[in-house]
């Protein structure tokens, strides 16, 4: 598979899968204000998805659209991080996951602004501003919940224990990443680790949460090698309309 196409799918699928997970809070968030804020985040991410997947479809050159890529691919065609497809579980875990992703996206998109590929640079330029706000918000919520009540702290600590083994996948370089680096399209994801670690350590310590030390990391999502059982269920919901009524318009 073309490395640029693969790279673009990874960017688009991350935004799409997390955007869909966030949208699941619409109407059921713990407060009206949070409900709207989460829906805004979801819409930002779906907007980013459209840009990434539209470009991916062009690069592929097989007459597919962004919609085709989003709604007519199977589980193993998806290239998102595993962390982003696991269920929301609760508000705390949803926001901690968002925070982990935002803490990566902010330096990542900032770096992509200097991409040799102008389309990539343009998408990064627009998305970076959104990511900065997302990070501001998710970090604040993680701190509020971690440093909240004993109960909220316990829930956040449990969320951290669950999500931590999924965080390592963000920093594993593979052939696609090396090809993108060679073409000056993107830096290696592993080079984002120091910045991520810094943001995460500062925020988690302010949130009175203890960082797990187990270095085990799940992987397989961004290569499409192995997804969790949760992605299929999510896609069944997300893709239902296009599957049941192909090419439906309204």
């Amino acid at each position: 598979m073309d490395a640029l196409f693969e790279f673009l799918l990874r960017q688009g699928d991350n935004a799409l899968v997390l955007g869909h997970r966030m949208s699941e809070w619409c109407g059921v968030a713990p407060a009206l204000e949070e409900d709207i804020a989460l829906a805004n985040t979801a819409l930002d991410l779906i907007g980013q998805t459209q840009l990434w997947l539209a470009y991916a479809a062009e690069v592929e050159g097989k007459d597919r659209s962004a919609n085709d890529l989003a709604f007519r691919r199977e589980v193993y065609d998806f290239k998102n991080l595993l962390m982003l497809e696991v269920p929301n579980e609760d508000f705390g875990r949803t926001l901690l996951r968002q925070f982990f992703f935002d803490a990566f996206q902010v330096p990542w998109l900032d770096a992509l602004k200097a991409s040799s590929d102008q389309r990539v640079a343009d998408i990064a330029e627009k998305s970076h501003k959104e990511a900065l706000y997302h990070l501001d918000r998710s970090a604040e919520t993680v701190i509020a919940l971690g440093d909240g009540t004993e109960h909220s702290n316990q829930k956040m600590q449990a969320a951290l224990a669950y999500l931590w083994p999924y965080s390592g996948e963000m920093f594993v370089d593979d052939d696609t990443d090396h090809a993108m680096q060679a073409a000056a399209v993107a830096p290696l994801p592993s080079t984002m680790h120091a910045a991520w670690q810094k943001t995460v350590s500062a925020t988690l310590s302010e949130a009175i949460l203890t960082v797990p030390t187990d270095p085990f990391a799940h992987k397989g999502g961004r290569t499409g090698f192995r997804h969790t059982e949760h992605l299929g269920h999510m896609l069944a919901t997300m893709q239902n309309l296009q599957r049941a009524y192909p090419d439906a318009t309204w």
Binding site: A31, L32, E33, E34, I36, A37, A144
Partner: protein, 94 residues
């Protein structure tokens, strides 16, 4: 202690607005949180470039029951309106 977040009144200044205008209220844990919530609730359609929030309990309001003594005396003082002065055209928009 109430489990509800306190209520905040939100004021937004629009793109070409000269002053902040009251747009509504929302709940938030603290002032910073209220600004973020205001951004998400009230500026989704590009409405504003500046946000003020103030905790609703910090606002002292006039009492509706004192409407008569408060406002009626001003009703028949038409001479307080500057409508009796001709304004030269070259002054432009006031």
């Amino acid at each position: 202690m109430s489990r509800e977040w306190p209520l905040w009144e939100v004021f937004i200044r629009g793109q070409h607005g000269m002053s902040h205008r009251h747009v509504g209220s929302l709940h938030a844990a603290d002032a910073e949180h209220a600004v973020k919530n205001a951004r998400d609730v009230y500026t989704r359609r590009n409405e504003g470039i500046s946000i003020w929030v103030v905790e609703a309990t910090q606002i002292t309001a006039s009492s509706p029951t004192e409407k008569g003594p408060m406002y009626d005396p001003a009703r028949d003082k038409v001479y307080r309106h500057p409508t009796f002065y001709p304004i030269p055209d070259d002054v432009g928009k006031m």
